[in-house]
């Protein structure tokens, strides 16, 4: 008699046999072994909006490369996991990518907090590590195979706000006093520290220098305090929710400063631009790419058209000017380096990446010794003639004028801010 236990055993054995047979039959005849690129990405959690947009851009790159026949004749595959914007998940993901999935190459997740926890693991394996929008991650590690695509420059902390203060210094009469206000978080504090240095070296007097908690909801007391300090220029370092709050409060209070902006994250995103509308006018803020004629690099328009098509209905930035071109470009750099060195030798790749100039959709990329861009291209752009409730206006030129650096300048400053 067949009892229940032996029946169950028989079922399991039969299942295992069937599975093994299936695996044998489905084994490919002899296709080229795919080239696996592994990474973690914030697909849920706080940075999900940006992470998903980056992934769309990366998938467009993969499609392009595979259409050309892959890299080294091998089709490109992605192996990626969601880190849920939790740094604690990152070490596990990268060790799995390298030890279990056996990926050939790794690239980073998005953002400083998600990049840093992967560093020791990648460093131990001595892999090239192209990274996406980390701020000064390599200052601590000094890893010579780290390459960061955000164009903040070799000294990102100070380069970030250099343009803002140089623009201020050029005005006549030169403004004298500065207010620096920053949210309590990793990026914003770094940006504020850089601004403090630039203000001092530019000969400005800091009359207000405070931080506020990330959870702040009412910004008018902060703006009133700045107003009371009588600052000529106001440098704000903030994340999207606070950026919106600060801009609205500045308009409500009728801030009389002559320059306002600096390092406000969020004003680069189409949804926030539409939401704030004319309140943005004359604000001078950092950006990395805007659709001005001076920044019309080969391929970027085509890339954005495809991104915008793919982004529809996915809840990500519909225009994708800020992060997606760079998410495409950091893989372009890797691709070009592999093709140039004709292999995956990590030492050769790194050596090549240090000396070559790469042609990408975000323009020519050249890395400094510490893996940051050799020269900063942190733009200072000024919002101009923004009309209410119209997102499409931001897809063309004329709304975000590049004032700095001079090489990319597309118009002149409107000064003072409040007029």
């Amino acid at each position: 008699m067949v009892n229940r236990r032996s029946f169950a055993r028989a079922i399991i054995a039969a299942g295992a046999l069937a599975f093994a047979a299936g695996a044998l039959v489905s084994a490919p005849a002899h296709a080229a072994k795919p080239l696996k690129i592994g990474f973690s990405m914030a697909l849920t959690g706080g940075l999900a909006g940006a992470g998903k947009a980056a992934l769309i851009a990366m998938e467009i790159w993969r499609e392009d490369v595979n259409k050309k026949g892959g890299i080294l004749g091998r089709p490109v595959e992605f192996v990626y996991y969601d880190d849920a914007t939790q740094p604690a998940k990152v070490p596990g993901i990268y060790t799995k990518l390298l030890n279990v999935d056996k990926v050939d190459l790794v690239v980073s997740s998005y953002g400083t907090n998600e990049i840093a926890p992967a560093m020791p693991i990648v460093m131990r394996k001595k892999l090239v590590f192209p990274s996406l929008f980390g701020l000064a991650v390599n200052d601590e590690f000094n890893y010579d195979r780290y390459f960061q695509i955000m164009p903040a420059g070799p000294e990102p902390k100070t380069d970030w706000s250099k343009g803002f203060f140089e623009l201020a210094a050029e005005q006549n009469p030169k403004p004298k006093t500065v207010a620096i206000v920053s949210a309590d978080s990793e990026f914003t504090l770094n940006a504020a520290a850089g601004a403090r240095q630039n203000a001092k070296s530019g000969g400005f007097i800091i009359v207000y220098d405070k931080t506020y908690p990330m959870s702040t909801t009412d910004y008018s007391p902060i703006v009133r305090a700045i107003e009371a300090a009588n600052a000529d220029i106001v440098f704000v370092a903030s994340y999207p929710p606070q950026s919106v709050g600060m801009v609205k409060a500045a308009r409500e209070v009728g801030l009389k400063a002559k320059m306002f902006g600096g390092a406000m994250v969020g004003l680069q995103f189409a949804a926030i631009q539409k939401n704030l509308g004319p309140a943005l006018n004359n604000i001078i803020n950092y950006d990395f790419w805007v659709p001005e004629p001076t920044l019309n690099f080969p391929g970027v328009k085509e890339f954005l058209a495809r991104y915008q098509e793919a982004a529809k209905g996915k809840g990500v930035d519909p225009l994708g000017h800020y992060l997606p071109p760079y998410a495409y470009a950091y893989l372009q750099v890797l691709e070009q380096a592999i093709n140039a060195t004709k292999g995956l030798d990590q030492g050769k790749l790194a050596a090549h990446m240090h000396k070559a100039t790469f042609k990408t959709v975000v323009g020519d990329v050249k890395f400094a010794k510490n893996g940051e861009w050799a020269t900063s291209r942190t733009l200072q752009v000024q919002f101009r003639d923004v009309k209410p409730n119209d997102m499409a206006q931001f897809s063309g030129p004329g709304k975000r004028i590049v004032l700095y650096p001079k090489a990319w300048k597309s118009g002149d400053i409107v000064y003072p801010f409040n007029q």
């Binding site: 959690g45 939790q86 604690a88 596990g92 060790t95 030890n99 926890p117 590690f141």
Partner: protein, 318 residues
């Protein structure tokens, strides 16, 4: 120590698990498994610790993340200040968080039930604000920890961390079991069932509650101390993550809060499932899985997995 047969079995299993862990580091080089098991072990300590106050004593603590984070930041600060080796950092974190637990213990004099739970949550927020503004440990910017590339006896640093964490976990389980099955444990159970009656019956309630909160705090600090070396980058947002606190509550609830083995089972089941889901489906689903299991267990099996097994064994005996 080895009074009964159960004691002998318990210590034999503990020793076997530890030796098994050591053997694993000799046999398996793949670092992923250590990383995954580390996360599960960390969750196990947190669950066991939470259960000492939440399960044995009946005081619900929502501030687990605060103990964990203070443990982590104590280690960061001392590592930066004196460069102490890991065992000292763990001991220091245990001491600091034990003291913090003692403070929380005095709170129980005035606060019970929901009010105690809210107070612990508030404590977590206060401490997070404090760390966010503590410049020495990187404040809101976060802090990097560089781990040595070569470690004696082990192939990599994560193996060392794994063995350390395994020893700490087994230690926590032993302490939890000793508490549960001792005079103290019976006193704690009396407090859980009816504090006033316990006091009237001569149970030294305050002293027992202070022991309970101190042990809980120290254990959570111990779980947090190696964390900076595991992630190599700590910022207040990730250290004070609400998810740490939610897991610490969900795991004992699902495993069963009345018995010392409950949180261990809960942590192994939930922690294992989470690690598997992260790499197979999606990280965000973790939260959903934990939430759903919590709801299911609280409504259908409030005694947890241990309760279900006990019921089943009783039925079989009949």
């Amino acid at each position: 120590m080895l009074k009964t047969r159960a004691d002998k079995i318990f210590w034999a299993v503990l020793a076997a698990v530890f030796l098994g862990g050591l053997a694993l580091t000799e046999l398996v080089a793949n670092e992923y498994y250590y990383t995954a098991i580390y996360a599960i072990l960390q969750a196990t300590i947190m669950a066991v610790a939470w259960n000492i106050l939440g399960g044995f004593t009946g005081y619900v603590n929502f501030g687990s993340a605060a103990f964990f984070a203070i443990g982590a930041y104590t280690a960061v600060a001392l590592d930066k200040w004196l460069g102490l080796p890991l065992p000292f950092l763990i001991a220091a974190s245990a001491a600091v968080c034990g003291l913090m637990g003692l403070g929380v213990g005095y709170l129980t004099l005035r606060l019970k039930g929901v009010y105690f739970a809210i107070a612990t949550l508030a404590m977590a927020i206060v401490l997070e604000t404090f760390v966010t503004n503590w410049e020495y440990v990187g404040a809101a910017r976060g802090v990097y920890i560089l781990t040595p590339e070569k470690v004696p006896f082990f192939r990599s640093y994560i193996q060392l961390l794994f063995v350390v964490m395994l020893a700490l976990t087994l230690g926590s389980i032993a302490i939890s079991r000793a508490l549960n099955s001792s005079r103290i444990g019976r006193g704690l159970a009396a407090i859980r069932d009816d504090e006033v009656a316990a006091e009237c019956a001569g149970v030294p309630t305050l002293r027992l509650k202070l022991i309970s909160t101190t042990v809980m705090g120290a254990m959570m600090g111990v779980a947090g101390a190696p964390y900076p070396f595991f992630v190599t980058f700590v910022d207040p947002l990730s250290a004070f993550n609400l998810f740490v606190a939610v897991n610490a509550i969900a795991m004992p609830m699902i495993g069963g809060t009345a018995h010392w083995i409950g949180p261990v089972i809960g942590a192994l089941v939930i922690g294992g499932a989470q690690e598997a889901i992260t790499v197979t489906i999606s990280s965000e689903l973790n939260v959903l899985v934990v939430g759903l299991m919590l709801v299911l267990f609280i409504t259908l099996a409030p005694q947890g997995i241990v309760g279900l097994v006990q019921k089943w064994m009783k039925r079989r005996k009949r």
